[in-house]
Symmetry: C2
């Protein structure tokens, strides 16, 4: 009969990791067993363990495939930065948000050397670097401080939005980011948008 699962177009490992990611995110990593994941992915536990040698590595793989906020790549530094906050607002609107997956994973997985934590740390590092580069390019007075502030605002909006399903915190963060940018950026660099 070969009752294949619906998505046969993507590799099986990806499919499993995607299903696992959804379950882990919605119901909690500790609350979802591998049996649950296997059943939901319409795959045997045997098969699951052929692709992922342990649940910890499955968690990491799932987190790596988590939906991401797409940061702008074009435009002036300032428009890119505010674009990042706007992208977050859209992101919060679309998905049934339960909190930032990376923050949640970091909270659930206590061991800082857990494979999933390593992924989170890398992403966080790169986001901070992204803000830093944009801020330097914008010619901010104290780029280190401003980049840190923007990063804090970003995390704050993500964390704050957990308890309030609305996008109010994110919009406040956007306004705050623009205000901080205006205060710390030389006027001649500020152009349209």
């Amino acid at each position: 009969m070969m009752r294949t699962r619906a998505r046969s177009d993507i590799p099986l490992a990806d499919h499993i990791a995607l299903v696992a990611g959804g379950l882990f995110y919605r119901e909690g990593i500790h609350m979802v067993g591998v049996d649950r994941v296997a059943a939901e992915a319409e795959v045997t536990k045997r098969t699951l363990y052929r692709h992922f040698p342990s649940k910890d590595l499955l968690i990491a793989a799932a987190l790596r495939r988590a939906p991401k906020i797409r940061f702008p790549r074009d435009g002036t530094p300032r428009s890119q930065i505010s674009g990042a906050f706007r992208a977050m607002i859209e992101f919060l609107k679309s998905s049934s948000y339960r909190g930032c997956p990376y923050i949640i994973a970091s909270a659930e997985l206590v061991d800082p050397h857990h494979p999933a934590r390593v992924i989170v740390n890398e992403l966080v590092r790169r986001r901070r670097q992204w803000f830093h580069d944009r801020v330097v390019e914008a010619g901010a007075a104290s780029p280190e401080l401003l980049a840190e502030q923007l990063d804090v605002l970003f995390d704050g909006a993500l964390a704050n939005a957990v308890k309030r399903s609305e996008t109010i915190p994110a919009e406040a963060a956007l306004a705050a980011a623009e205000s901080l940018l205006d205060a710390a950026t030389p006027r001649r660099k500020r152009g349209a948008a």
Copy 2:
């Protein structure tokens, strides 16, 4: 013999909840069983269950006794607000910080009606209200927005500090808060400190 535990000066229930809180915070709520808590508190599981009818209620009791950041009660609104951020900086310095207990608890306990989540929601609500009252008193132009921004900054610093043991995010948040306050507050209200 009566090998009483060291702290016999505080009620037993408080002692158990305190020990539980420390364990839950350091090692994760899901990773610590009630057996562990009972052993660490030098109490029998039977006794523990006499004081707390379930682990969920124990979690809530433990969270209610979690160490708090003490918000200032005196001074001008502006000094109170920046004092709150300074109190956070001190808080992060002192304890071996692993992340905001409330954020962690909210992440680990998926059910939004979990007794511990109810406590968190109430605290969050009160913090936002605190910011709001101070901002209104300071005569800010758009108090709703500014209060939201300060709250986001606060959460952001707490969340951001999870991955970086330093207080850099908190100090950046303090600076950002002061900057936003300066921009939104009538100059005549800004006085000493």
